[in-house]
């Protein structure tokens, strides 16, 4: 999987290409921040560089990054999906409700994923075929999803998951080869999506739609179907994340994922995805989410009041968009 977020140009050498990519700089930042913190505050290093903390950091960002993998596809086409936080709750509640009624993990997980896909279909259909703005439709879905989660759960809190509870808890909270399971899922999905974006017709058409939707339509790209597919993908990824999140937390409430849409979108943007469409990739989603978590974790360990976290994340989003603007100016 390439580090760059654009399709490669043969006439640019690999090194220039690397330096021009935001994902590359973000990757450096991800490693530089803890190093800098260690230099400034030696006591910090003891806490940060512990294996436990590494485990926590990677696991914490996996949930957001998996959602960001779907979001990035949406944003590449020039759309946006604001509903992911609520869809996470819908899928999580569906999973919790079924498992607490002693349905098998496999069945409950499939239904939870279907719930995510249905939310995505709803978004995608209205956006593609009724030509409504993605912002408005997914904002509507943000409200609908949250209310559905409340209605389905009847405002109950699920923490007993029937006979398959151990599978769910192991999947979300356990580890394999010392790496948290959600992280393994994330790595697998990132590699898969990186490949799909780069090497399939579907991926190529995503970029085409983001670059010039009208042109894509004229040349025969099935724009409407493609757009439905990205919202469905976003719903799917969100549902996968929901299953892992519930397994990790060991419980689920209808408040799951409140405000996550911002963190998910921030991850893609920080990784170098252009909100106007046409640019971005799987690695951008991955590394953007990693950076947010590293910053969050570092601030926490450095003793900064957690109330300030939102401020830092917000500033980073603005900074990332500013950086994108500066890079854009250089190109044109």
């Amino acid at each position: 999987m390439a580090i760059d977020t654009e399709l490669p140009r043969a006439s640019q050498n690999a090194w220039q290409q690397l330096l021009a990519s935001q994902a590359f700089w973000v990757t450096i930042f991800v490693f530089l921040i803890p190093v800098a913190m260690t230099v400034v505050e030696p006591s910090f290093s003891a806490a940060f560089w512990k294996e436990d903390n590494f485990f926590n950091v990677t696991r914490n960002f996996a949930f957001i990054a998996i959602m960001a993998l779907g979001q990035v596809a949406v944003i590449i086409t020039g759309g946006i999906d604001l509903s992911v936080g609520s869809v996470l709750a819908v899928s999580g509640i569906v999973l919790g409700l079924l498992m607490s009624n002693d349905y098998s993990f496999a069945f409950s997980a499939i239904v939870a994923i279907l719930a995510g896909i249905i939310c995505g279909l709803f978004n995608g259909y209205l956006i593609s075929y009724l030509r409504l703005s993605a912002f408005v439709v997914t904002l509507g879905m943000l409200s609908i999803g949250r209310s559905l989660a409340l209605a389905i759960s009847n405002n109950k809190f699920f923490y007993k998951f029937g006979h398959d509870q151990h599978i769910l808890i192991e999947l979300g909270g356990g580890k394999t080869f010392g790496i948290a399971n959600p992280v393994l899922v994330l790595v697998a999905l990132t590699l898969l999506m990186g490949f799909v974006f780069r090497y399939t017709t579907w991926g190529r058409h995503l970029y085409a739609i983001g670059g010039n939707e009208h042109a894509a339509r004229l040349t025969g790209v099935p724009v409407d179907r493609m757009k439905v597919s990205v919202y469905v993908l976003s719903g799917f990824m969100t549902a996968v994340s929901a299953i892992l999140t519930v397994g990790w937390l060991g419980s689920v409430t209808n408040g799951l994922g409140i405000g996550y849409e911002l963190r998910v979108i921030a991850s893609t943007v920080i990784g170098g995805t252009n909100l106007a469409g046409g640019e971005g990739g799987a690695y951008a989603a991955f590394i953007g989410a990693a950076l947010i978590e590293v910053i969050r974790n570092s601030l926490l360990l450095a003793g900064v009041d957690p109330y300030w976290q939102g401020t830092f994340v917000g500033l980073f989003i603005i900074f990332a968009v500013l950086l994108e603007r500066i890079r854009g100016r250089k190109v044109n």
């Binding site: 043969a10 017709t201 190529r204 042109a215 894509a216 040349t219």
Partner: protein, 246 residues
């Protein structure tokens, strides 16, 4: 035999008669300049040929056979390509990705078919060479000059072995030097036996490359003659209505 023949084409939108009883023929390897003022019916005629909408009356013959296009895809399948004024290119993709957009070459088998960028770049390189353009297949379109962009748009029509290429104002928004480049591209198409309809407001361009000129005014064809028998002055008169017909 004419590659394209339109007989008695009329098109009305409600009470507005955009085209009335227009005959139009196009031979292989011929560049026809289609001129007329705004609203004269040029775009309507082009859109009918390109399959955007059917005519209200009249017949379209492609290589002698009647055809009925319902969508642009039908016309493209029959060998009619349009190069739009805005070129319909994706700036974020490479030249070759644009040429092959929605017609990508793939390799592998079954569901494991992946994009074959190597083959697409190689074929694009050939197409650009045929057009004598220096466009490089792996360059991003965003970085290209107006002339190179035109080459990409034209190479796209070439890929499908088009018989007819409709060019909508190709020289409207580019520099003088690039105009020259584009007109050269049109000549290359003609050499390869492709029929070109050049829709343009720019009199010098039409007179430089066209073999024949067709003038529309208020939905009627008012002139259809070899370029050598006309002059810019006459065409201006025909467009404005100072000369009734020629």
């Amino acid at each position: 035999m004419a590659v394209l023949e339109l007989k008695g084409i009329s098109k009305h939108f409600g009470a507005i008669e955009a085209l009335s009883n227009v005959d139009f023929t196009l031979e292989r390897g011929e560049i026809v300049g289609l001129m007329g003022d705004n609203g004269a019916g040029k775009s309507t005629l082009v859109k009918i040929i390109a399959g955007n909408f059917p005519p209200s009356a009249g017949e379209i013959l492609l290589e002698g056979k009647p055809v009925h296009f319902h969508k642009p895809v039908d016309a493209r399948a029959a060998g009619i390509e349009v190069v739009y004024q805005d070129l319909a290119l994706c700036n974020n993709l490479t030249a070759s990705a644009n040429v092959f957009l929605a017609r990508e070459k793939k390799r592998g088998f079954g569901p494991f078919r992946i994009l074959d960028d190597g083959a697409m770049n190689a074929r694009s390189r050939e197409l650009f060479a045929e057009l004598k353009s220096e466009t490089r297949p792996a360059d991003t379109v965003r970085m290209m000059s107006g002339g190179q962009r035109q080459a990409v748009a034209i190479a796209r029509t070439h890929l499908s072995q088009a018989k007819i290429v409709l060019m909508d104002e190709p020289t409207a928004a580019i520099s003088v030097r690039q105009v020259h480049e584009v007109l050269e591209l049109l000549r290359r198409l003609r050499e390869q036996g492709i029929a070109v309809v050049l829709i343009s407001h720019r009199m010098p361009d039409v007179f430089t490359v066209s073999d024949r000129i067709v003038v529309l005014r208020r939905g009627h064809k008012v002139a259809d003659k070899p370029i050598g028998q006309s002059s810019p002055e006459e065409v201006t008169g025909l467009i404005t209505g100072a000369i009734r017909a020629a």
